[in-house]
């Protein structure tokens, strides 16, 4: 076997203990930090009711049995059933909301990288000039943005006062595309539904800008730092000596070399993206996983909250695995 294949297999095996530890942390936090039933019922419920729910959740058993049950159920992809309304399986409900989160994440992520790389390059080329300082300040300000507030301001300006863009939801119900993948923009294209496409994109703009700007600061700083280094290196001087146009030098020669640290950061940013998505979705009533979590928090629907957090933990392990594998293909120097 090639060393590449060995590396990938080893990396996959390594993510199993990582996942196990993360899932155990979720268990510890949700069981040891407090009692789920009293957290749910608020401590004023009749004892018979508490006992009933305790039994239903299997909380009357010793802690180690609860832990084993928890892991066994997860191994069967069973996240339990919701405790309110139709008591549907939690996994089904999460998967229903996941495409909305995925669509928002993809568009915000792309927007943040484009914006971050562009501002970073702009800043690096004007090092220590006023424009550079302004963009460095921008990097710090984005880090301090409180998503719900920024979203509120955008909603006020572009939704309420100018009336250009919708401020909540994913689509106008009259124009919602037929669901194939659950990504409305993609579905509208697949079904050749032009009004639906325009409507989905219009709904996507404000949440994307809110989350995208919040995430972009780190790419601005990263691109700036690396571009400053790279622009001073010999091969750039050589390219200049050959008389290549500045645009080619910057975007083709220099940026390519700044891309590996940016890729690493993309992998690290997923955790922040997920947390940011919870707030963005709540702000814009975007019916994804985060909004779903927010909704169920207000009902203290314990199994759903636990299920969503488990789902997020699994997602994080999976994404870090994928990023690491992409990484080896892009940078062949990394073979452990």
């Amino acid at each position: 076997m090639t060393s590449l294949r060995v590396y990938i297999i080893r990396r996959i095996l390594l993510s199993i203990p990582m996942l196990l530890i993360l899932l155990s942390v979720v268990f510890v936090v949700l069981r040891v930090a407090g009692d789920p039933v009293s957290a749910m019922l608020g401590g004023h419920a009749p004892i018979s009711e508490i006992e009933r729910i305790r039994k239903q959740l299997g909380l009357d058993k010793p802690l180690y049995i609860q832990y084993l049950n928890y892991l066994m159920n997860l191994a069967h992809f069973d996240l339990g059933r919701s405790m309110i309304w139709g008591q549907r399986p939690v996994l089904d409900e999460i998967l229903e909301h996941f495409p909305a989160t995925l669509e928002l994440s993809i568009s915000a992520f792309t927007f943040s990288i484009l914006l971050g790389v562009f501002t970073g390059v702009f800043s690096a080329r004007r090092r220590n000039k006023p424009a550079d300082h302004a963009i460095r300040l921008y990097g710090i300000i984005t880090y301090s943005i409180f998503i719900p507030w920024f979203g509120l301001v955008l909603q006020l300006i572009f939704g309420v006062y100018l009336g250009w863009l919708p401020i909540s939801g994913r689509s106008d119900p009259r124009m919602a595309p037929e669901i194939i993948t659950g990504l409305y923009v993609l579905d509208s294209i697949l079904t050749m539904n032009l009004p639906g496409l325009i409507d989905s994109i219009r709904h996507l703009i404000l949440p994307t800008v809110t989350l995208g700007i919040y995430l972009s600061g780190i790419y601005t700083r990263l691109t700036r730092t690396h571009m400053i280094d790279i622009l001073q290196s010999d091969f750039i001087r050589a390219a200049r000596a050959r008389g290549l146009p500045e645009r080619t030098i910057i975007y083709k020669h220099a940026l390519k070399n700044a891309f590996i640290p940016i890729l690493t950061m993309m992998g690290l940013q997923f955790a922040l993206l997920l947390a940011g998505a919870v707030l963005t979705e709540t702000t814009f009533s975007w019916p994804g996983m985060g909004y779903f979590l927010y909704e169920r928090i207000s009902y203290r629907d314990f199994t759903t909250i636990q299920g969503t957090i488990v789902f997020i933990a699994t997602l994080i392990v999976l994404i870090s695995l994928i990023v690491d594998i992409i990484y080896v293909y892009i940078d062949p120097r990394i073979r452990y």
Binding site: G34, A39, S144, F146, I167, R221, A275
Partner: protein, 292 residues
């Protein structure tokens, strides 16, 4: 920065903040001014606030900003300015308390774990790393759901989120320091255990703490606001920016912009104050990290 005592370190830090340092110095000063303004507001809240923050109907409902209510009134006719002033007390108490607790726990555990090593260290590091892998907000949500509402539960939730950051940083420094000459020398003259950790190693890790502390404070302000925004924060009688922002959405479409905009602006300003201070400090104390 080897083996400086704390007062000496502070003077050397201050001497580096001069107008000649340009933008970094400016960042620190602006950040400090913002943070100090909020601290001033928090301390003198009873004197500064024109009205009782919880008293309903001190004016009309949703009165727009005017000379009597500079930031208007909210849905219950409470004065928004007064709520903001009292809210600064809430956010600063929670932030400072959780920073103190998390740095104390994280630094102590990091020192011990790094020094003792072995299986204890492996197990603790594994646990801390997996806490760290979680998005801070999601972890805080999980804890806050379980611990319930109130100042202490929220403080504890935030503390748990930030402990791993201090732990990882300090443990790393202790590991690299363990092999250094002055530790060897201290061992040779018979220092061991607690003395070695707290008298020889600890003073040398202090310089890296203030930067992390202020950057974490910035993050903690946001996380607290997010918890309150999601309805997991504080009971209704404690004025709280995040929750007021949430309530500000209620009448948004009626062009009533002030109940949400002002509390949210305060969250951003205070976060910016801590970040500017931390960033400026980082650039000056640790030029290697600059630009990150």
């Amino acid at each position: 920065m080897a083996n400086l005592t704390a007062p000496k370190m502070i003077t050397s830090m201050l001497s580096k903040i001069s107008p000649r340092r340009g933008v970094e110095g400016l960042f620190i000063i602006v950040g400090l001014v913002i943070v100090l303004t909020f601290i001033f507001m928090a301390i003198f809240a009873p004197v500064l606030a024109p009205y009782d923050p919880n008293k309903t109907r001190v004016g009309g409902l949703y009165e727009s900003p005017n000379s009597k209510f500079p930031m208007g009134t909210d849905r219950l006719g409470r004065d928004i300015l007064s709520r903001i002033i009292w809210g600064s007390r809430t956010v600063l108490i929670v932030t400072f308390l959780s920073m103190a607790l998390s740095s104390a726990c994280g630094v102590t555990l990091g020192l011990i774990s790094g020094y003792v090593g072995g299986k204890f260290d492996t197990a603790l590091s594994l646990f801390m790393d997996s806490l760290y892998a979680f998005p801070g907000l999601i972890l805080a949500i999980a804890l806050a759901v379980m611990l319930g509402q109130g100042i202490m539960p929220v403080t504890v939730s935030l503390t748990v989120v930030y402990v791993p950051i201090y732990f990882r940083m300090i443990r790393g420094e202790v590991l690299s320091m363990k092999e250094s000459l002055f530790v060897e020398a201290a061992k040779a003259i018979g220092a061991k255990g607690r003395t070695l950790i707290f008298k020889y190693i600890f003073p040398n890790v202090i310089p890296s703490i203030p930067i992390v502390l202020s950057l974490n404070a910035a993050d903690a302000v946001l996380t607290l606001a997010a918890l309150s925004f999601l309805g997991l924060g504080l009971p209704a009688h404690i004025p709280d920016w995040g929750f007021d922002l949430r309530m500000g959405y209620g009448a948004l479409t009626a062009k009533i912009w002030w109940p949400g905009t002002f509390p949210g602006l305060m969250i951003v300003l205070l976060t910016l104050g801590f970040s500017l201070f931390g960033e400026g400090l980082a650039e000056i104390l640790n030029p290697k990290l600059s630009g990150r």
